[in-house]
Amino acid sequence: MRLELVAHTPNVETMIATSMLTTTSGAQPGTLYDRLLNKPGKVKEIVGRAEVQHGNILEHNCLVWLLEATDGEVLEAALDTSFLKFTRLDENLWLLSGNLRTVVEYAQRKKTPLTDALAASAKNVAPDIRFLEEEER
């Protein structure tokens, strides 16, 4: 099994912070996003308060990977979670995508080479999301 991140939504943590503030503040989401774009310290502080129970805040993004895996490995992952999307590119080559909530919940529920690789990859995109830390899984 080999996993390579090939694309992801830009400013993932800014979007998470925007989502968190949208639900609890009277400001417009577009305004919040624009305000937070150049405030990485504020974004870090806000996403540090995130609770995974409110999973929808982790859904406004998409990560896309190239996955080298056998049919059996893909079938296992597809049966484990219905929120990962697979497209076969070649015999053992797949395009795989999902959002952070899917990665976090799957990695917390099951430890496999794939979930380890997904969590490590997502950590590069959203370094301040503590649910991706080894001790939180």
């Binding site: 979007m15 417009q28 929808n56 993004n61 998409c62 959002n99």
Partner: protein
């Protein structure tokens, strides 16, 4: 971006892996109720449990078909007064909001895959869709066409995408006009 990395992969196979996030602002709660029926999507909406609704009369969406503005405004004012009375009396916002009308403005973040978005446009750009969500769908489609014309020039109501109207006996009978309206370079 994904298309550039996988130029030989057709748009249709890429659609499930594409993601679009919109800041939907100042729509009515009636509109957001329709939005959340699109289940293959993610929503983060302003919460009436946490956000106090202030100046309700300035923050309602008024349907263009409402002729009797006095009656409409009067009911909004009554709801506003009742809501404020309840909040002032210590009733939690999550309970006081029960008197708020569907016209109350709301804003949300909404994320859909490319596949879900095509289905959304198929249904909500249709002449039979309700005016507010149809206006929203048209505005979203215009932004998508600006961003990715090669893909989204193919999106619109189902009659435009399929070449026939799937609404059966409920058809609006205006397919020709709708197809022309959504054809790039058409009447817009």
């Amino acid at each position: 971006m994904l298309k550039e990395k996988f130029p030989t992969l057709g748009w249709r196979r890429l659609l499930p892996h594409l993601s679009y996030t919109f800041a939907v602002e100042k729509v009515s709660r009636a509109c957001s109720h329709q939005l959340v029926r699109h289940r293959v999507a993610s929503f983060s909406q302003q919460s009436q449990r946490y956000i106090t609704v202030k100046r309700l009369k300035e923050r309602v969406v008024t349907p263009p078909t409402v002729d009797d503005m006095d009656a409409f405004r009067g009911l909004v004012m009554e709801a506003s007064d009742a809501y404020q009375t309840l909040v002032d009396a210590g009733v939690p916002k999550e309970d006081a909001r029960f008197v708020l009308p569907n016209a109350t403005e709301t804003s949300l973040l909404m994320t859909m895959t490319g596949s879900a978005l095509f289905h959304f446009y198929g249904l909500r750009c249709c002449n039979r869709a309700q005016w507010e969500i149809r206006g929203l769908a048209d505005a979203m489609l215009a932004q998508c066409r600006d961003a990715e014309p090669e893909l989204f020039d193919n999106a619109g109501p189902y009659c435009y995408m399929l070449g026939y109207c799937p609404e059966g006996r409920f058809t609006c009978g205006g397919m020709e006009e709708a197809v022309e309206r959504y054809t790039p370079g058409g009447r817009g």
